[in-house]
Symmetry: C2
Subunit: 288 residues, 2 copies
C-alpha cells in the first residue's frame, strides 16, 4: 500500500483518462492484437475491420478505459494497417489508445494520425529501443510503457529490474520527457517454469513504484502460461499486483474472473465509494 | 512482499504446523463456531456432536491446517461444551486446534485437556483482556492471536492499530511469552460502511508485519458484510492481504473462491514449487 505516486494523463480528442494509484485501476483492453488470434488475422488480411470494431465495443462495455491497438500481422504493411485500425476504432469509441508495436515506423504511422495524447507500448532498456522509441515519445508528446529489461535481456532479480527501470526513466528525463509520462512494466514470466517468477515481479513492482513513484503497467496473463485454470491464477495475481502498486493492467476485460478481481480490488483499496461500481456491476451482470 | 518474518509452531499430540511468510498460508478453518449457525446450535444443545465431527472432516479435506473451535452457545455451560467439542474433533482429526472464546474459563477448560501447543483466539489490547488471557497463554505454553484494539475500541488509523499490536506484544514479552508465539489480527470492518476500511487494514497489516515480524492472522469475511457477491470480494481481499503479509487466514475453506484465491496466492508468492499443489487441486476438483 504505497503513498508515493505520480499521475499519468492520456487522452483522445474528446476524452482524458488519468492513471494513478490514488484512483481506480485503469484497464488497458488488450484484445485488438492479432497475436494468436486467427479470426482477427484473417479479417485484417482481407481489410475487414468488423472484428476490430466489435472488439473495441465489447471492451468498452466490459470496463476498459484505454484500448491497445496492435497491427502485428505477418507479411502486412504494418504502418498502413495501424492507421486503418486506429480509424476503425475511432468509428466506435473515443477512448484513448495505446499504440502497440516494437517497430518505430508502425508507431509513427499511428502517432501521426492520432488526436490527443497517446500511450506508446513500448520502449525497453536496450540501446536500440531507447534511441528509436523515445524520440517518438518526445516528438508526439505521448506517454510510454517501459519494459524493465535491457541489452542483457530480462533481469533475473527485482533489483536489476529496478535498475533497468532507472535507465529508461533517466534517459526519458534527459530528453525532456517528464517522469510522470513513463509507466514501467516490471515483466512477469510464468510460475509454471519458475515458482519464484511472480514473487520476483511483485517485489520489482513494489521497488519501482516506491523508488520512482511512476505508474505500473503490466501484461499479466503470461503468469499462468502452461497451468490449468488460468483465469483464477490471473485474477489472484491481479489482486496481489494491485496491492504491490500495479495501476494499469493490460488485460482482457472480457475475462470475468480477472475483471471481477480488479473491481473487487478497487473497492478494497478504497477507490469505490459506497461500493457504487461494485453494486452496479453486480446488478448488470446476467444471473446464472 | 516482506522479508522480516518470525515462525510460529502449534501442534497436537501427533502433528506440528508452522506458520510463516516463508511458506504457504496456513488456513484456520472457522466453521466449528455456533455464531449464526442454527443447525450447529441445536445439535450442540442436544449434546449431539455429529455436526462438529462432519465440519471437522470437511474442513480437513478442504485444506485447513488448524481448526478453530468455539463453544459460544447462548445459555450453555461453555467450559463443559468446549471440552466436549475438542474431544469430538479429536475423534476425527489430529490437526492442531485454535481454542476460541472471549471467556477465560472456557479457554482454560479447553487448554486443560488439550494435548500439544494450542493457538488461543484471542487476546486484545484492553487491560481486562491482557490480564485475564495472557497468563493462560503463559501457563499452557500456547500461541495467541492478538486483536489490534485497546480500551478505546478499534482504532481508526493503521498507526493506532500498530500501537495496539505493540502493546499486546510488549505485554506478552514482559511475561515471558516469546514474540513468535503472538500473532496479530489487524481487524477488518466492512467496506460497505467505509470504503477506506479494507485499505486501512491492509496498511496496518504491512506496518505490523514489517515492524514486529510477527505472523498475521485475520478473520476476513467480515470485509464484505452487506455487499452482493461476497465470495468474490473475500477472495480478492485474501490475495491483497497475503501480498501485505497475511500468513494465517481464519476462514471457511469450503468457500471455493476464497480457497482457490489462497491456493493461487501460494503459487504466485513462490510457495508451491512446480505448481504441485495447484495442479493436484485442479485434478481433484469436480468438473462442471
Amino acid at each position: 500500500v504505497l503513498k508515493n505516486n505520480l499521475e499519468t494523463t492520456v487522452s483522445s480528442a474528446t476524452r482524458a483518462v488519468t492513471i494513478s494509484r490514488n484512483g481506480p485501476v485503469v484497464i488497458v483492453g488488450e484484445r485488438i492484437n492479432p497475436t494468436g488470434r486467427k479470426v482477427l488475422i484473417s479479417a485484417l488480411k482481407e481489410g475487414n475491420m468488423d472484428v476490430v470494431r466489435s472488439d473495441a465495443v465489447a471492451q468498452v462495455e466490459a470496463g476498459a478505459s484505454i484500448l491497445d491497438v496492435n497491427a502485428g500481422v505477418p507479411g502486412a504493411d504494418e504502418p498502413a494497417l495501424m492507421r486503418q485500425i486506429i480509424r476503425a476504432v475511432r468509428e466506435v469509441t473515443d477512448l484513448p489508445l495505446c499504440i502497440d508495436s516494437p517497430n518505430p515506423q508502425t508507431l509513427e504511422a499511428g502517432l501521426s494520425i492520432y488526436e490527443g495524447k497517446a500511450l506508446i507500448n513500448s520502449v525497453n532498456g536496450e540501446e536500440k529501443s531507447l534511441t528509436s522509441i523515445l524520440p517518438l515519445v518526445k516528438r508526439y508528446n505521448a506517454a510510454v510503457i517501459g519494459l524493465a529489461m535491457d541489452d542483457d535481456g530480462i533481469p533475473q532479480t527485482a533489483q536489476k529490474r529496478l535498475d533497468a527501470a532507472r535507465k529508461i526513466i533517466g534517459r526519458a528525463e534527459s530528453m525532456g520527457i517528464p517522469r510522470h509520462d513513463v509507466l514501467i512494466d516490471p515483466l512477469v514470466l510464468t510460475v509454471g517454469a519458475d515458482c519464484q517468477a511472480a514473487r520476483m515481479t511483485l517485489e520489482a513492482t513494489q521497488l519501482i513504484a516506491e523508488e520512482f513513484g511512476v505508474n505500473i503497467a503490466m501484461g499479466a496473463s503470461n503468469v499462468s502460461h502452461g497451468l490449468p485454470d488460468r483465469p483464477t491464477i490471473n485474477a489472484a495475481f491481479m489482486a496481489l499486483a494491485i496491492a504491490c502498486g500495479l495501476s494499469c493492467p493490460i488485460t482482457n476485460p472480457l475475462s470475468i474472473p480477472v475483471h471481477e478481481a480488479i473491481l473487487a480490488a478497487n473497492l478494497l483499496m478504497g477507490h469505490d465509494e459506497w461500493a457504487v461500481n461494485w453494486i452496479s456491476y453486480y446488478r448488470s451482470k446476467p444471473k446464472e
